[in-house]
Amino acid sequence: MEKKNKLLTRKDFVSSSEVRWCPGCGDYSVLNAVQNVLPQLGIPKEKFVFVSGIGCSSRFPYYLDTYGFHSIHGRAPTIATGVKVANPELSVWVITGDGDGLSIGGNHLVHALRRNLDMNIILLNNKIYGLTKGQYSPTSEKGQITKTSPYGVLEEPLNPLRIALASEATFVARAVDTDPKHVTGVLLEGAKHAGTAFVEILQSCVIFNKDAWKDVSDRSCREDRLLYLEQGKPLIFGEKRNKGIILKGTKPEVVMIGEQGITKKDLVVHDIFSEDPVYVAMLTDMAHPDFPTPVGIFHAAKKPVYEQALEEQIKEVTASKGRRNLQALLRGSEYWTVSGGGKKIKRSSGIRVQFSDESRVMDERVRDLLKSTDPLTASLKTTIGKIFYDYDYKRVKMLSPRASISTAIANFTANRIECILVGDEKRLYGVLSERDIIQNVVLTSIDRDRLPISAIMRPIYEIMDETNSIGDVINILSISGHRHVPIRLKDGGFGLVTVRQILRFIHDTVEQVEKNGDVTRK
């Protein structure tokens, strides 16, 4: 087997499909680099899977003689996740672009990175939508002229590496298409990394964004404008290798080695395993023209791999609970059988038995959480029926909506009440408070003997049931902004619960608790 692997060469990964990218496209060089890397990994050819979304870069799987999946827009990381989880032995690669990966599939990319499956994600960044003929993409520069931004892009571009770092990616790297040797090296390291390796490759779109990275990737100026990051080595760049990066506080600064007493020892030493978020953030922020644009491995971390953790969890749960029946799970805990033209409906819960232990455990946990040790919070579960009958319920008055305002005033003064219900035996129409009376009677010249109270009452916000808890009532009172809420009584009548009654209840509960010595305060 091993012998056979050694025999694999680049040619083994070249498919018979005709490559249909535009002549001069950076995708060719990346394809080449990938075809160079694969035989070096010592993995049998049939174990490779390439998953892509939509876009020029997403044509990748056709041109590689491996298993592949040209999938749906932006969803390559998702499908790759499924592939890897179902078959962890495979070497899974995602090929995406700046539009597919950061816009249409931005969410999927973020979560794939955070999950940290052992796979590779290559994002080809040409700062444009090429396949759809030149619309601006999430990485297009501010001010860039494209077909959909004829007067310049207004948005800030996304920095793919920053997205990766924010998503807790465990391997973050960048390379440029014009340096295939470097691309190969970075991809090789990424493939060896245990966890999701995210590699951004800077490349141009010959048709719609020819000079996307010309300033940094052109052979003539590359040495001076790119900073090749090497593990454990100082940050040195320049054609003559005479420039370097020093740190002033957290800010990087370009210096000339040998000038002003600067030696190589003063330079920042690159450490991909650095856990200092400031350092790697500083690197991702550096860019031409103020700084050289860094390429290479920015950051790497050893963290648990998702599919292994999942496998262990499955093993653990299977050992304690046995294997589960997927069909039973899909059919749920209960189902209905409809027959006889919809006339007969039978409800079954036959499968329930298998799940009862789980749902019971869940229920108990939630109940424990809700179970309160504090007598006051526990008392809030009391139904309002109780509070209603205990506190002042005889004082509730109800008047017909046709009653005059004078009648209402007479009721208010005679009974010293705060509020009157408006309705009849069957229906509740509204609530009339002192405030409604005062503001209408004092400020307007209405005929209080003729005008019915229905003209000035407030409509019902909510009628609660006697079985609702006191907690529910407090909630409704808080939301509605009212001082009283009507309740529907068991005998069909209506009652009223006021803020004052609630406070009395709380007061009495606290007093009771103090008497019993259940709670120690002060």
Binding site: S359, M362, D363, V366, R367, L369, L370, S372, T373, D374, L376, T377, L380, K381, I409, A410, F412, T413, R416, E418, S433, E434, R435, I437, I438, Q439, V441, V442, L443, E462, M464, D465, N468, S469, G471, D472, I474, N475, I476, L477, S478, I479, R483, V499, R500, I502, L503, R504, I506, H507, V510, V519, T520, R521, K522
Partner: protein, 157 residues
């Protein structure tokens, strides 16, 4: 831990409660203008202060209902005639528990909170209830706005 939390909750000073902005009028203001002030401030009472801005009385919807609406007094009558003189007040140092006690043993719904002679705001029964309920998120605050949506059991069965 839970015990300590409870202590601090009941012993919280009333200054931490969201007090209502008071409606304030000077002595001698007509009843009609006082009611306008209440309506404008969306509050059920109005504070009456003297020339030195010292609190001398409070006029509530209850006072108006019982002393004015059914009476023969004209709307131009000064508030002084029907207001409650020298009303109960408290300082921001009053605790939640003490406030609960005050509202329990008195009929009024609004309590002026003063620092020295400066009015800080009005503590209402509603404000106090809301403050208490905010400390009980599980049982009170985090519920659906429509009571018919409140699940009878935790698992929603």
């Amino acid at each position: 831990m839970t015990k300590r939390k409870k202590e601090t909750f009941w012993a919280e000073p009333i200054g931490k409660v969201d007090l209502q902005q008071p409606a304030v009028v000077k002595t001698g203001t007509s009843i009609i203008d006082a009611v306008k002030e209440m309506k404008y401030n969306q509050i059920g009472c109005v504070l009456v202060v003297d020339a030195k801005k010292k609190l001398v009385g409070i006029l509530s919807n209850g006072d108006l209902m019982h002393e004015f609406v059914g009476s023969t007094l004209s709307g131009d009558t000064p508030v002084d005639e029907i207001m409650t003189k020298n009303p109960a007040s408290a300082t921001p140092a009053l605790t939640v528990q003490e406030a609960l006690e005050i509202f329990h043993s008195n009929r009024f719904r609004h309590l002026p909170i003063l620092t020295g002679e400066t009015v800080e705001g009005i503590l209402s029964v509603r404000g106090l209830m809301t403050f208490i309920s905010e400390h009980l998120p599980l049982q009170v605050m985090n519920l659906p706005p429509d009571s018919s949506l409140i699940a009878p059991t935790v698992s929603g069965e």
